[in-house]
């Protein structure tokens, strides 16, 4: 969070710079089954973010020491393409992508019925092709759809959503400028059917009341995006294979 006071992010009419209302998400579109080589795949366009996820497996877990006797492990790689940001990123993992990979894997392990596949591994590859704030949430959404597309049994989906604070005001779904000059970001991974939370991070400054409002916005957005996810999977199975 870059901090408060640098830049005006709310217009005089109370709307945001791009015309959105405080609790309005950027447009989201999702397509499932777009990578023929993968067992399951999805592409999520969330605002200008583009996240692609591929799923491989379940397969034998290698090397042996990562195997779990009683369940599958989920091996997630979140990676930003070199051309996905304004300044080119050098290929290869960095500390940020390793942390996001870890917490994303832990979130997905919370919904996939991993007990059904002991000693095996499910590979989830998340590739960010274009980034405009919110890529980790777009990645989680894409991974959920790709897992479903691969036929991996899950007890619920996870919807990646985020709220934040700009000019002392809680808003839904920060875009790039809002992320750069805002005061807080609260990304979450929400199970649409149970209302549970499988993923949660936050940084910046939020009072307890602001936190409650931001989570309220997150739950609202999760419901909306979940419908788009379901539609994408329906379209996939209606439309036949690729």
């Amino acid at each position: 969070m870059g901090g408060y006071g640098d830049v005006q992010l709310l217009r005089d009419d109370g709307l945001r710079l791009d015309g959105r209302k405080l609790d309005e998400s950027r447009p989201v579109s999702i397509q499932a089954g777009i990578l023929p080589a993968a067992d399951g795949s999805a592409i999520v366009t969330h605002g200008l973010n583009v996240a692609v996820a591929a799923v491989y497996g379940p397969m034998e877990a290698h090397p042996r020491k990562i195997q779990r006797q009683d369940r599958a492990v989920i091996d997630v790689r979140y990676n930003m393409a070199p051309f996905s940001t304004s300044d080119r990123i050098r290929p290869g993992f960095n500390r940020r992508s390793r942390e996001i990979s870890k917490v994303t894997a832990e979130a997905l392990e919370s919904v996939v019925l991993v007990e059904r596949f002991p000693r095996s591994k499910i590979r989830v590859e998340i590739e960010i092709l274009a980034a405009e704030a919110g890529t980790r949430c777009a990645g989680i959404t894409a991974a959920s759809v790709a897992l479903a597309d691969a036929g991996i049994p899950m007890r619920d989906m996870i919807v990646g959503v985020a709220s934040g604070k700009i000019e002392d005001t809680v808003v839904l779904d920060l875009d790039k400028a809002e992320d750069n000059y805002g005061q807080a970001d609260l990304p979450a991974g929400i199970l649409p059917n149970t209302g549970e939370i499988a993923f949660l991070q936050m940084d910046g400054d939020l009072s307890p009341e602001e936190f409650d409002l931001a989570m309220e916005y997150n739950f609202k957005a999760a419901k909306e995006i979940h419908e788009i996810m379901v539609d994408a999977l329906k379209a996939r199975y209606d439309g036949g294979d690729n």
Partner: protein
């Protein structure tokens, strides 16, 4: 085989939870005794040692002079890193930083950075030319559970005692680093189905997901992190958030008392 022990432990944890008990006799939201030492490392410009049950953690602060970023010519920088080296436990292996140690360092870093306790403009020496880079390195020497809170405490305590080594770098006289606030982390782990505060080693081994909450002097959230496999409800979070407020205030008092002496 290694997983047999966790499974037995999990059963024991469930049994204890039914009686609202913990394996080491503590109440559900009772922390272990904390020993905080500061100024304990020659060559570090600020240092702290935290002992919390079987957990032992050191933090050291170093300064360097850097060129500021062109778009922020009067801002210095703060960096906090943690190393989970093999010294700390049989389970840690040598090699490049593990995801666990990266997460630990980044969560502690965010809590301190986002609290705003360091004014980056106060680290300016000559605008556009020279600013201070402050580096907090955390070294876990013994992992007896809940290293997140121990590391968070060591880091802010070390930072609050740091002296800027201006003389050694030939840019004026040494002075105490200005730190406005004492962000504190409180961590909760689901054990036997319900969240407990300050897990010990066995509770981590037989437990599920954890939540790390960093709270500033005014009770605002500065950092959240959910780790490991598991889900939680908003109601569960509301409960531990309230406990965290209380626990963070207590630990903030320990830092203040140490500074008063």
């Amino acid at each position: 085989m290694v997983e047999l022990v966790p499974n037995l432990l999990r059963q024991e944890m469930a049994r204890l939870a039914e009686q609202d008990a913990r394996i080491d006799g503590r109440a559900r939201f009772e922390g272990r005794e904390i020993i905080l030492e500061t100024d304990c490392l020659y060559n570090a410009e600020g240092s702290a040692k935290v002992t919390m049950g079987k957990t032992v953690v050191y933090a050291g602060v170093k300064f360097e002079i850097r060129t500021p970023w062109p778009d922020r010519p009067s801002e210095g920088s703060l960096m906090c890193g943690a190393e989970l080296r093999p010294v700390a436990h049989r389970k840690y292996e040598p090699g490049p930083p593990s995801p666990e140690s990266i997460e630990l360092g980044r969560v502690v870093d965010r809590g301190i950075r986002e609290s705003g306790c360091i004014d980056m403009n106060s680290l300016c020496i000559i605008p556009g030319e020279k600013v201070w880079g402050v580096m907090i390195d955390i070294h876990v020497l013994s992992d007896g559970g809940n290293i997140f809170d121990a590391c968070g405490l060591a880091a802010i305590a070390a930072l609050r005692t740091a002296v800027v080594p201006a003389e050694r770098f030939d840019v004026g006289e040494d002075y105490t680093l200005s730190v406005n606030g004492t962000p504190i982390m409180a961590s909760f782990t689901r054990v036997g189905g319900r969240y407990i505060y300050d897990p010990c080693e066995e509770e981590e081994l037989g437990g599920d997901e954890r939540i790390h909450i960093t709270i500033g002097d005014e009770g605002h959230l500065h950092s959240l992190q959910k780790g490991l496999r598991g889900v939680f409800t908003p109601q569960e979070f509301a409960e531990i958030f309230e406990v965290a407020q209380e626990k963070c205030a207590e630990l903030r008092k320990i830092v203040a008392e140490k500074e008063a002496n």
